[in-house]
Amino acid sequence: MPDEIQILFVEDSEADALLIARWLNKHGVKCTYEIVDNVKDLLGALGSRPRDIVLSDYNLPQFDAPQALAAVRAFDPDLPVIVVSGSIGEEQAADLMRMGARDIVLKSNLIRLGPAILREIADRMERQRLVRHVIDAERRFSDLVKGSIQGIAIVSRHGLHFANDAYCRMFGYSAEELASIHRNKVLYHADDQARIKQFATARMSGDSSPHHYEARGVRRDGSLFWVEHLSNRVTWNGQPATQIVAVDITDRKEAERKLVERERKYRETFENAPVAMFRNGFDRKIVESNAAMRQLLGYSEEELAGRRPRDFIPEEDKADSLPLVDKLWTGEADRVDMEHRMIRRDGKTIWVRTSVSLTRDDDGQPFLITHCQDTTERREAELALVASENQYRELFDNTPVAMCWVSPEGHYIQANRALQDLLGYSAEEFLTMHPLDTVHPEDQAFSQDSMGSLFRPGGPDFISDEVRHIRKDGRVIWVLIAIRIVRNEDGSVRYILAQLQDITGRREAENALVASENQFRVLFENAPVAMAWISNTGKFFRANRAYQEMLGYSESELATMRPVDVMHPDIAAQRAERMKKMFAGTSELSSIENRLVRKDGKSIWVLVNAKVMTDPRTEERYILAHLQDITARKTAEEQLFHSQKMEALGNLAGGIAHDFNNMLLPIVALTELTKASLPDGDALHENLDTVLEAADKAGKLVKQILTFSRQDQSEKAEIDISRCMKEALGLIKNILPSSITVNGHIGRDVGTVIGDQAQLHSVVLNLASNAADAMAGRVGEFEITLTRLATDAELVALVPGLDIARNYARIVVRDNGSGMDKQTLDKIFNPFFTTKAPGEGTGLGLAMVHGIVERHGGVVTVSSELGVGTRFAIYLPLQDTSALVASPASVPKPLVPAE
């Protein structure tokens, strides 16, 4: 507080001033005051000496508070004004405060005025103290500004307000000159002017944020320099202005440019280097990578940044590579080179040769620069080459085929393991040997010739031979040798490649096979068993001699025939079907009785054992058939069967005949006895004769039974069969009804038969009787033919049972009666079989015929066709003598002597 405060009252009444002065004095504040009541005095008072405070009444006759307030503030805005008024409205009070009044005190409350005055004065003093301080600071600041090496200028839209020396020097103008020029257009490079103006406009429009920019300044002498501006909005003399801090940054700019240029060059070099590179720090994280690196791994720069090299190295390669890099950090090495794999972004693994070195940046920070070279191709090529070489070497050495390289001079270059094993020499021994050294002496000349031919101009490039070699252990082996010549471009021999194969086993097997085949062929050809191969075309493939003999065909004939061609027509179709099944595999083995027809027509029975075989080489199927002639057995079987049947029937018939004869004895004998005891002419004679006649017929029947069952006794004699049949023909003509024409063709001098004439008569009579029955009263023909047959194979084949060694008389009896079906034909020789009505036939006639013919060593055959007729043929063996001995016809003994 000042010792004495100077108060200026704007008042028309001094009483108030005194009152206030007294209160101030009373409170220890000395004061002097002056009272004015108009503007003129007020301004004069203010200008006369300094005042500490103005106290203004609100209403004055010539004046009022607002006017006083405006005047005081115009003079010194800092001089406090307190309005003192008797009464004042709130609105007026608010206006006054807005206009700058420090306080408003009502006269009715003057007690407040004293403290308000003291406060305001204290405030002002403090403000003034601050102002002084500011002014001091400003001065110091001004000195600083003026003396600053940085250019400082204050500008506004009105032009340059201030520019320090540094600023002036910077542009080469004096402050005055600067103030007179259009700064923007003169001081700055045309390219920068728009930008600078833009900043200025923004500031003037209220943008208070500082603008920091660089621009190219133009010196007075026209030279350019780089200036850095820091512009911010300030108030200069109450007006908005811009303070510019300008620094000449030409040197820095140049340094920067050089640095950028260097950096750019470095970066370009790094980026465009053909070698893939990356840089990483102590934390191993990749800081930067070049295009080649990115291309190598397929990642973008952003993707690579921050990742570590180990992220791209497969696990199995880390152990070999990463520890090496650590040596750089520990100072054990300045550079490490290694080769390892890396995994590309696309998952592909590549081989990379990396070279890592430790270096430091400008700040001295250590980092790693890594050069990577894609060695995948080289690596793969190397690996492939090595693998290929290994493969070939291993192949050559381990192939089971014995092989060797031989030089044109005839030295072994290399012999593989198989060859060492084959010939028993070691690889080293081979190197000292000549290829012909191991050749068997007997094959030497031949081998030399072969070898020689290879070296002759135009000789073959390849030869193959089977020669004997002698192993180191002396054993002789057969070798299949294949030699290939590899020639130079000029045709000369580069080297010889030979392959050797031990074929000793094969040669031996071949020899054995040839021998075996010969053996088998001989066996097959000469086997006593008929054998035939049947091909699946259904033709004979081969038939051995026994087969040819059995069938009577030559080998060449059989070659054009089919097996079915030699089969009996009855079974050929069935057997052909069977063969088909065998070839089809549905029937494997066959053992079957077969009836064949020889070339001479004779039919034979064979037991065929057939098996389907497959030729292992051609896969063709064959039937191998063994044939055994069982004709004799078959005939015997048939005969046995027939004779057994006949024997059984004969036993039966014989038994019946015996008992029957016993029965007949009393009938015949006692009837005769009775007859004899009757007187002649007795009527009973006729009755008894009938009994005797019936008994006689019964006796004849029994005789027939006994005949076929051979129970009777026949008398065999040499019979002239021609005469015998002539007699029979006469008998036939007598017994056959006149409706039947009888034709006889009895050959003369046919020959002699050993037999029973009566029985032979009964044979033809029986047949004639049957023929008559078959014609059943119709007009018909009966024919009997006797011929002499010279027996041949054809006949024997046609008529089973004939002896080829004998000649036969053939009696053919033929009728054109009703004929028989096959079922009937099969049974006609069975005893008691009859087609006649009961009581009309005994069924014994043909059985007897059969029995008689058989007992004469002959054969009887029959053929018949329903509605056409029946034909019997009787074959009787002729005596070999050509002389015909007449034999008296023996008449059958009558059962009952004529009376």
């Binding site: 024997e647 004969g650 036993n651 014989g654 038994g655 005949a657 015996h658 008992d659 029957f660 004869n661 016993n662 029965m663 007949l664 004895l665 009393p666 009938i667 015949v668 004998a669 006692l670 005769e672 006895l673 004899a676 005891s677 008994a695 006796g699 029994v702 006994l706 069952s709 051979r710 129970q711 009777d712 006794q713 059962l895 009952v896 002597p897």
Partner: protein
């Protein structure tokens, strides 16, 4: 025929009807007839009382004809035997021929007429016996 002296005839036949027939024919012709129904019985009867003539069947049970003939001719070499048969039960053997070979003086196949029988009887009785009997 009627003037022939009576003979004692032993008939051996298993068939009763045959024995009756033979007895009637032979007795009608004046012969003395004895009957046996099989070989054993016949031999026993012959041993007990020999006959002038034995007419024996061949096929008989117990002891058949050929065996009987063999036994009788062995024991009685001069015996006169006629063998008769109705035919064999077994084929291929001509029993009557066999009987003849073993000593039957005559053989007849059944059935035969009374003339045949009596003719045979007379022929045998008239014929020489080995021992010149009768």
């Amino acid at each position: 025929m009627m003037e022939r002296k009576m003979a004692r005839v032993l008939i051996i036949d298993d068939e009763k009807l045959a024995r009756i027939t033979l007895r009637k024919i032979l007795e009608n012709a004046g012969h003395d007839v004895a009957e046996a129904s099989n070989g054993s019985e016949g031999i026993a009867m012959y041993r007990a009382q020999p006959a002038d003539l034995v007419v024996t069947d061949i096929i008989m049970p117990d002891k058949e004809g050929v065996e009987t003939i063999i036994e009788l001719t062995r024991d009685f070499p001069n015996i006169r035997i006629i063998a008769i048969s109705g035919g064999g039960r077994t084929r291929n053997l001509d029993f009557l021929k066999l009987a003849q070979q073993y000593g039957a003086k005559h053989v007849l196949a059944k059935p035969f007429s009374q003339q045949e029988l009596l003719g045979a009887v007379n022929a045998v009785l008239d014929g020489p016996s080995v021992a010149g009997h009768a």
